[in-house]
């Protein structure tokens, strides 16, 4: 079973088709304002535009004259704000979706107990949300969302508000729970995408500009946004005699082979980039940023991670010209 999402909402500039295979997770990425959250709101039913239509799996969620209210959609949202009901205990919160679906009180209680155990929350069962830490609250929210047994789970940056170490634990738990559930996750974190999502769709201005299996997309990005999300440099040029020739004539030696003259993408990690006195790819430095032990040297389209000594020795600063070379074996090439 797979879910087909078809959304046409002119007023929001949304026009897209997405497919999520049953039991799989699709990550939605894209620059701010690309329409990721809009898509989630349209599917969840928290946004009701004047015109357009949204179909989920052939069912018209919203169209010219029809509107499926949110509670009939079996679509549950988990956002960075856990939105636990403050007047209910952790257990009461998890029982809520079960009771809403008509599960008898005792069974709902037992089932909520199971979810509490599964997320290691037994000791917190009778606490009110005000007495829970951020991470604990988010775990209760996860249990509650899963207890609703939605046909589609929407995750809107669920870890964005958490400390890094809490996020790590939670990500592990989420991976386990999402393994056999159908979900869409919106994230800015490449780790979320890699850990949780089988597929990736890149949105820009309300449209899907790229989609495919997560690993495939993140190792062989085809758009600048995907490349930067994956932490890779991406250049495009023509294949000529064992190198990618860029539009300015610079040559980037790379493994092939490709037909001569073929347009190819070349991806490489910033840490693989080295500086040369001359030749290579000529760029102007736009910014220098600390990056772990290294310094990230940014240009308009490329980044290089270099040791601070080199930066000091070369007296690099914004505005300076650099010549970038990349070892042949560090480059991946692929056709668009």
């Amino acid at each position: 079973m797979s879910l087909q999402l078809r959304a046409r909402v002119p007023e929001r500039g949304v026009e897209l088709d997405l497919a999520v295979a049953g039991g799989q997770t699709l990550a939605l990425i894209g620059p701010n304002g690309a329409g990721k959250s809009t898509v989630l709101s349209l599917v969840a039913g928290t946004l009701r535009p004047a015109r357009g239509q949204v179909e989920l799996d052939g069912q018209l969620l919203f169209g010219e004259r029809s509107w499926t209210p949110p509670h009939h959609r079996r679509v549950t949202t988990l956002s960075q704000d856990p939105v636990l009901f403050p007047h209910l205990t952790a257990r009461g919160n998890i029982m809520f979706p079960l009771r809403s679906q008509g599960v008898p009180r005792t069974r709902a209680r037992t089932e909520a107990g199971r979810w509490l155990a599964e997320l290691g929350l037994e000791d917190l069962a009778d606490r009110r949300p005000a007495m829970l830490s951020g991470g604990q609250a988010q775990r209760v929210a996860i249990a509650r969302a899963l207890a609703a047994d939605p046909r589609l789970l929407l995750l809107d940056e669920p870890m964005a508000a958490l400390d890094i170490d809490v996020a790590v634990t939670l990500r592990g738990q989420l991976r386990r729970f999402l393994a056999d559930r159908t979900a869409i996750i919106v994230t800015h974190d490449v780790l979320d995408a890699l850990t949780l999502a089988d597929h990736l769709a890149v949105l820009d201005e309300g449209r899907v500009i790229e989609q495919g299996p997560t690993r495939e997309l993140l190792t062989r990005p085809r758009t600048a946004f995907t490349a930067s999300f994956a932490g890779l440099n991406l250049v495009t040029g023509r294949w000529e005699a064992g190198a990618v020739v860029l539009s300015d004539g610079a040559r980037l030696p790379a493994p092939g082979p490709h037909p001569p003259g073929q347009e190819v993408h070349a991806a490489f990690h910033p840490s693989a980039v080295q500086l040369a006195r001359t030749g290579g790819i000529r760029r102007t430095v736009t910014a220098l940023l600390p990056h772990g032990d290294l310094v990230r040297v940014r240009t308009a389209d490329l980044a290089a991670d270099l040791p601070p000594q080199d930066i000091a020795e070369l007296r690099l600063e914004p505005g300076a010209t650099v010549h970038l070379v990349v070892p042949r074996e560090a480059v991946t090439t692929y056709e668009p």
Binding site: P70, T77, H87, R144, A145, A148
Partner: protein, 256 residues
């Protein structure tokens, strides 16, 4: 507290005294030797009983219609909503006597609905029902204004979350929205009760004044003033105590 300028104490203290001093002055006038006899007279007891009963009924009626009104005003979106809100809150600023006159022309024998009600065998004029109607009319805005404000402050995110978890609208209202604003609902109800308890103008205009039927404590106090000022003072003090008890009880309920 530390950031408060010291001078606010003076006007605050003055305001407090302004409210408390008259109450103390009245308490000082109570004839304690005859207090017991004055407040346990037939007329006093029946007025007290009637006041508590009618105010309780009014408070319940206010909850029954005021909660849906508040929810609509806070959540619905339609043309003329703000106008409607102003109109609904009108009794708040209207002199109660005007309310009484308006009610008379609506539910009175010669009123807009009077004949229809008479056909149904319902006679409102000079009945305890009229007292409850008059009190509800003036008390309703108190509940609506406090509840609507709380609903707006609470926002809709919990309701959105509840719907996303599959809860039908009625369940969202009863299990999420209302529990969230429960303190405001309680204090609004107490306010409405207190307002009903003190209601005078609309009642005397619309319901009349008859011991045991329509003569509530404020009406009894006003009448006793004509012939027995001591009794009026004693009853005023009694009314004050009832009001203080109600507010204190409500405070405790809200804070726990």
């Amino acid at each position: 507290m530390n950031t408060l300028p010291r001078w606010v104490l003076l006007p605050a203290l003055l305001g407090g005294l302004f409210v408390l001093l008259p109450l103390a002055a009245m308490a000082a006038r109570v004839q304690w030797s005859s207090f017991g006899a004055l407040i346990t007279s037939d007329a006093s007891l029946s007025a007290l009983r009637l006041s508590v009963q009618t105010s309780g009924s009014s408070a319940l009626l206010c909850v029954a219609v005021g909660v849906p009104m508040s929810v609509l005003l806070a959540r619905a979106e339609f043309r003329g909503l703000s106008l409607l809100r102003s109109l609904v809150l009108l009794p708040l600023v209207l002199p109660p006597v005007v309310g009484g006159i308006a009610l008379l022309y609506t539910f009175g024998r010669q009123g807009l609905l009077g004949r229809q009600l008479e056909v149904l065998g319902l006679e409102i004029a000079f009945s305890t029902t009229a007292v409850v109607l008059a009190q509800t009319f003036v008390a309703l805005p108190f509940l609506v204004i406090s509840l609507e404000g709380a609903l707006r402050t609470a926002g809709t995110r919990y309701e959105v979350a509840a719907a996303s978890l599959g809860a039908r609208p009625s369940r969202v209202l009863l299990r999420v929205t209302l529990p969230l604003v429960l303190p405001a609902l309680l204090s609004g109800t107490v306010l409405a009760f207190a307002r009903a308890l003190g209601e005078f103008g609309a009642t005397i205009t619309f319901a009349g004044s008859l011991q045991g039927t329509t003569r509530t404590l404020p009406l009894e106090i006003y009448l006793q003033r004509e012939s027995d000022p001591d009794a009026a003072v004693a009853l005023s003090f009694l009314l004050m105590i009832v009001a203080v008890l109600v507010i204190a009880a409500a405070r405790r309920r809200v804070s726990t």
